[in-house]
């Protein structure tokens, strides 16, 4: 196919339009935000607190749910059991639910009459309007990303390697930690980053569970609905910058592991 064929031109134009559609609104927002406005927002205690809250709660939610999600992903990758397809469907459910509906569901679960709410109450905890509740709402809508990515990662690990390790005398737990987990690590990290990013950006489910303390998406919405676009924009820009920075950092950490391998190889 020649370089200048009409097909190539059409491809190029259509692809550029899609990219432009993503970049233009973001660029517009950045261009409309002056340096002084941004600086003012950085100095705004309320904005800083909400961004920090968003990051740590999303991270904590991802981290704690990963403890259960990763073994579940291994199970789904390795074992056949009755109703497995139903289980897979249930895992994908949060992705297709409207997020406000997901928020209502989580709220019912953690309210004083709910199962988890009652349990938390009995030890003197209230999950509504509490970072704990926010974490649960974030996890509810974002956990499929981690489970599915980790499952793909485990599926890609040849089962023979696990069996070889067993035949060398390793226990199941040891095989999991020394063979399965390290070999699926990149996919798991990708899932981790996606779950974290998805949790951080969640608005619908979180706003129903906790208007206060305010996570960044709620804060941006609140500023927009109370004061208008001009006032909400700097907060949005700042949140995007920080979210991107965290996102890139995590990506780098997960990629670095592979690079060390290649580096060591080259040295040898």
């Amino acid at each position: 196919m020649s370089r200048n064929s009409p097909f190539n031109w059409i491809l190029l134009i259509l692809s550029s339009l899609v990219l432009l559609f993503i970049l233009a609104p973001l660029a517009g927002m950045f261009l409309h935000t002056g340096g002084s406005e941004l600086l003012e927002t950085v100095n705004d205690e309320e904005v800083r607190a909400s961004i920090w809250l968003t990051i740590w709660v999303a991270f904590a939610a991802t981290f704690f749910f990963a403890i259960g999600a990763i073994p579940l992903a291994w199970l789904l990758a390795r074992k056949e059991f009755p109703m497995k397809n139903v289980v897979l469907g249930i895992i994908d459910l949060p992705v297709v639910l409207p997020h406000t509906a997901a928020g209502i569901a989580v709220l019912g679960f953690i309210s004083r009459d709910g199962l988890l709410g009652k349990a938390a109450n009995s030890v003197g905890l209230t999950l509504i309007n509490n970072p704990g509740g926010i974490a649960l709402a974030m996890a509810f809508v974002s956990i499929p990303f981690l489970i599915n990515a980790a499952r793909d990662g485990f599926t890609a690990v040849p089962e023979r390697l696990e069996k070889a390790a067993l035949s060398l005398g390793a226990s199941r737990t040891r095989v999991f930690f020394t063979i399965s987990l390290p070999l699926a690590w990149r996919s798991i990290m990708t899932g981790f980053v996606m779950m974290f990013a998805r949790g951080m950006s969640e608005f619908g489910a979180v706003v129903i569970v906790a208007y206060h303390p305010m996570v960044a998406p709620v804060l941006i919405y609140e500023r927009f609905s109370s004061f208008g676009l001009k006032y909400a924009r700097p907060a949005a820009v700042l949140f995007i910058i920080i979210a991107l920075a965290v996102f890139i950092l995590l990506r780098l950490i997960s990629v670095r592991k592979k690079e060390t391998h290649i580096l060591l190889d080259a040295e040898a």
Binding site: P158, A170, S171, I179
Partner: protein, 353 residues
């Protein structure tokens, strides 16, 4: 030492059925079969990677049919080696020692010593992605041998090794066996079986169809399938009949073979090795048990010299050493005489595959 009793296992569309065999201490047992014959599955059952549906596996008089894979002490070298790509060569070899919680200096000493023995001492700090097939094979072997297995299982160990390295690896296997290690080696290549085995089992469609020493198996193949393995290409479906004191075998095309004395069924298969037939340009003075006139249909080079395809009632494949071939001065369409003693006619049991 290892005994399989009536082992059956269904795997998808494939079934291993009623396999019984016994491997004796110190044996080099080669399990010979085509791909898909069930030989790898059988190894996996012995190693404990899968459980059989029925039957029993005994190791040193202990029933290990459902024993945990970790505590069987059976070493398995996988066909694709199953090297852990996230570990260095050292990490791979040391894997089992870490499981046994040995201390660091013991691990280092043991790994270094076995790596030296297998000529991979210089690779220890390397990761495994760009090692050659031969090197990976040695890493896999070292990783298994370091566990001092009671029994070593090798799954097609020479299948993806360069021809030039095969002899080296074979030598290593032979040495291990000489030191007393019992080995079960699975392969589709009969030349491996001939050069390594003290005993051979031929597996076909999930069943062991013949067992014995290499001489037994290739000298008296139990059926057409085994015979094919031994490189035999002359098969004739015949009816047996007795004329006076002599037994004859008659093919559909009226080829009549004189057979050695014995008892024969009504019909069956007769095989004749390609190198047991003598070709002459003129009618021989002294005729062997069987002598026919034929026409050369095809001439092609083969390992031992030339292979002739001669039509004499039936088609005969005949191997002629190069020197003899030159003396014969024949071309395609030449008339020739072929002869072989009646003892060269081997009758297969039952006469079918």
């Amino acid at each position: 030492m290892l005994k399989l009793e009536n082992i059956s296992k269904k795997l998808g569309d494939f079934t291993l059925s009623g396999i019984s065999m016994e491997i004796r201490e110190g044996e080099y047992y080669v399990l010979l079969g085509r791909s898909g014959s069930g030989k790898t599955q059988l190894l996996e059952l012995i190693a404990g990677l899968n459980d059989p549906d029925s039957g029993k596996i005994w190791l040193d008089d202990e029933d290990i049919t459902f024993k945990k894979i970790q505590s069987r002490n059976i070493g398995l070298v996988f066909q694709d080696y199953a090297i852990f790509p996230n570990l260095t060569v050292f990490g791979n070899i040391a894997y089992s020692l870490h499981c046994r919680k040995n201390d660091k200096s013991t691990i280092k000493n043991e790994v270094t010593s076995i790596a030296k023995e297998l000529n991979i001492g210089h690779l220890l700090t390397r990761f495994t992605h760009n090692l050659s097939g031969g090197e990976l094979q040695r890493v896999a072997l070292a990783r298994t041998l370091i566990t001092s297995p009671r029994l070593l299982l090798l799954d097609e160990p020479l299948a993806s090794i360069d021809a030039s390295l095969k002899d080296d690896i074979k030598k290593t296997f032979r040495q291990l066996n000489k030191k007393g290690l019992t080995i079960i080696h699975v392969t589709h290549d009969y030349s491996e079986a001939v050069s390594l085995a003290t005993r051979i089992g031929v597996i076909h469609n999930g069943r062991v169809i013949q067992e014995g020493s290499p001489d037994d198996v290739f000298g008296k193949p139990a059926n057409k399938f085994v015979a094919r393995y031994a490189g035999i290409r002359n098969f004739f479906r015949v009816r047996f009949s007795k004329e006076g004191l002599l037994w004859k075998a008659l093919s559909d095309t009226k080829l009549a073979l004189n057979l050695p004395e014995g008892n024969y069924p009504d019909e069956g298969l007769v095989i004749i090795r390609s190198n047991a037939i003598i070709v002459a340009g003129e009618e021989p003075q002294q005729k062997a048990g069987n002598c026919f006139k034929g026409v050369v249909k095809d001439i092609s080079p083969c390992e031992q010299g030339m292979e002739l395809l001669v039509e004499a009632a039936e088609l005969f494949y005949i191997e002629v050493p190069m020197n003899d071939f030159k003396k014969l001065q024949i071309t395609e369409t030449s008339d020739v005489w072929i002869s072989f003693p009646s003892e060269a006619c081997i009758v297969l049991n039952g006469g079918s595959v």
